[in-house]
């Protein structure tokens, strides 16, 4: 069965968005900021109010001055978050990222208190063969692969992969997990205690999915997933003897037999399941036994769903009945009706 796909306007919009970071308020006091504190004391001696004295870190006794602030410096907190935003992206077997929409969306946010550079990568992850990760997508591309983000800012990430050919694990409802990992580059954690003359770097991130798997390693990851949404066709063929006797009188009761001259109506139906992908290029064929003769022109009609039309092919042999290719959307039934008489 052939399938054709169109890149939608939606993907064009995502392409535009992915080149722009989202700007938000900084998270946490900026690294390197100095926080000052000064207390002020007013008092009396012998009933006479005195000039207030301001504090210093070592003790100040001089009234009426500004004192000296008691200070500390804000350290650099490295923290980041990746979220997977696409659940159950519907794809068909053999779809490629280059020619169709297999876009998975993610977001990277700098949750630390300093501007940092990030490296971003994609893996087809999860444990293959478990429920929820039955097949592997391949040839995944990711954009962007690097980002520089100020505290609180985010960037949108788009991944596109190729979907394998259909098979037992690449069938309706089967899924594939795709993992995106982001890492802060150019930082190492200070583990030797407070440096007096420099800002310390502390990793404070949580644990992401399998490609990260640890807290406080300046990395984070998350998954989005594909789900195979194939067409779900069911074909049924029935035959019924028209309820007429040889002379053309309608028979309403009694048994009906295949009697020479009797008319048989063959009905072939194909139904596409609710929620399934559109089946395109569907062709119905049927070969009527040579003991029968086709009468009149077989018909093909589509009911239900979005409606649609189908036509009979011409130039076939009399007993070889075929339709032209037609599309069948979810919830539609195509009915091919052939009337034939018993020779």
């Amino acid at each position: 069965m052939k399938h054709t796909f169109l890149k939608t306007l939606l993907s064009a919009a995502i392409l535009g968005a992915m080149t722009n970071a989202a700007f938000a308020a900084p998270i946490g006091t900026p690294a390197g900021d100095v926080i000052n504190n000064t207390a002020s004391i007013s008092y009396s001696v012998g009933g006479t109010p005195q000039t207030a004295i301001k504090s210093s870190p070592t003790g100040n006794t001089t009234p009426g001055t500004a004192g000296t602030p008691t200070s500390f410096v804000v350290d650099k907190k490295i923290d980041l978050l990746v979220t997977g935003n696409t659940t159950d992206k519907a794809v068909q077997p053999e779809q490629t990222g280059a020619t169709s929409d297999t876009e998975l969306s993610y977001t990277l946010t700098n949750e630390g208190n300093s501007t940092e550079n990030f490296a971003i990568s994609v893996t087809d992850a999860g444990t293959l063969g478990t429920v929820g990760d039955e097949f592997n997508a391949s040839n995944c591309t990711i954009a962007p692969a690097t980002a520089s983000l100020a505290s609180g800012d985010s960037v949108a990430i788009i991944v596109e992969c190729d979907i394998p050919v259909s098979g037992t694990n690449v069938a309706n409802g089967k899924k594939s997990l795709v993992d995106v990992l982001a890492e802060v580059t150019g930082v190492t954690q200070d583990t030797d205690g407070d440096d007096v003359n420099a800002i310390d770097v502390v990793f404070a991130d949580g644990a992401g999915t399998s490609t990260d798997g640890a807290i406080r390693n300046a990395k984070h990851s998350a998954t989005s997933n594909y789900i195979i949404n194939a067409a779900g066709l069911t074909v049924k063929k029935t035959q019924a003897v028209s309820a007429m006797d040889a002379s053309g009188t309608p028979i309403t009761t009694g048994d009906l037999y295949h009697i020479p001259g009797a008319t048989v109506v063959y009905t072939i139906t194909v139904v596409n399941a609710p929620g399934a992908a559109t089946a395109t290029g569907v062709v119905l064929t049927d070969t009527v036994p040579t003991t029968m003769t086709v009468v009149g022109t077989p018909t093909i009609a589509i009911t239900g769903g979005n409606g649609g039309a189908a036509t009979m092919a011409s130039g076939e042999g009399v007993n070889a009945v075929a339709t032209n290719g037609f599309d069948l959307d979810a919830d539609e039934t195509a009915t091919l009706t052939i009337t034939a008489t018993v020779n």
Binding site: K54, P57, P63, V74
Partner: protein, 167 residues
């Protein structure tokens, strides 16, 4: 011989020292109190397999961490001091942690208007962004005030403290 010489030298030295002290006093008036502000943070270390929490001077702090401020006031004069009031603005980028303002023999109050007026916790009101007046939360406080009751005798040292969280 040597002893006498030493005593004379000593006497001379003393005279010179007294003169120096007099010069200092007239150049920079000293108050009766010595006021010190310290900032500390709690660190948890592993000591012999046990987790021990200790206060250390806070030189570097991460957003989200808590620090403790203490103000020490010592009477360095020879007269008792009273009517002592300590005022501490909540430092920029920090948030007052509820129920952490303390000090022996003090009455604590807070300001939400930068120190223009003070009231006990629970008696403060602010106008929210929706224009409605509501009870002030610890995150609204801008200053802390301690009123020390009674006298501070010469040489005595007392302290007050409070905690904040770094945003």
């Amino acid at each position: 011989m040597i002893k006498t010489k030493s005593i004379n030298t000593l006497a001379l030295g003393l005279v010179m020292a007294v003169s120096t002290i007099s010069t200092n006093v007239s150049a920079a008036p000293q108050g009766h109190l010595k006021v010190t502000s310290k900032v500390q943070k709690l660190v948890v270390t592993n000591r012999n397999g046990k987790k021990v929490a200790t206060y250390v001077p806070a030189a570097k702090v991460l957003p989200g961490e808590t620090v403790q401020y203490n103000t020490f006031f010592q009477n360095v004069s020879n007269q008792p001091a009273n009517g002592i009031t300590i005022v501490n603005p909540i430092p920029k980028h920090t948030v007052y942690l509820p129920n952490t303002a303390q000090g022996q023999n003090t009455v604590v109050s807070f300001s939400v208007n930068g120190g223009k007026s003070y009231a006990p916790k629970g008696a403060l009101k602010v106008r929210g962004r929706d224009g409605k007046v509501r009870v002030a939360q610890p995150t609204d406080y801008t200053n802390v005030k301690w009123q020390y009751k009674g006298n501070l005798a010469p040489k005595a040292t007392k302290s007050v403290g409070f905690k904040v969280r770094l945003r």
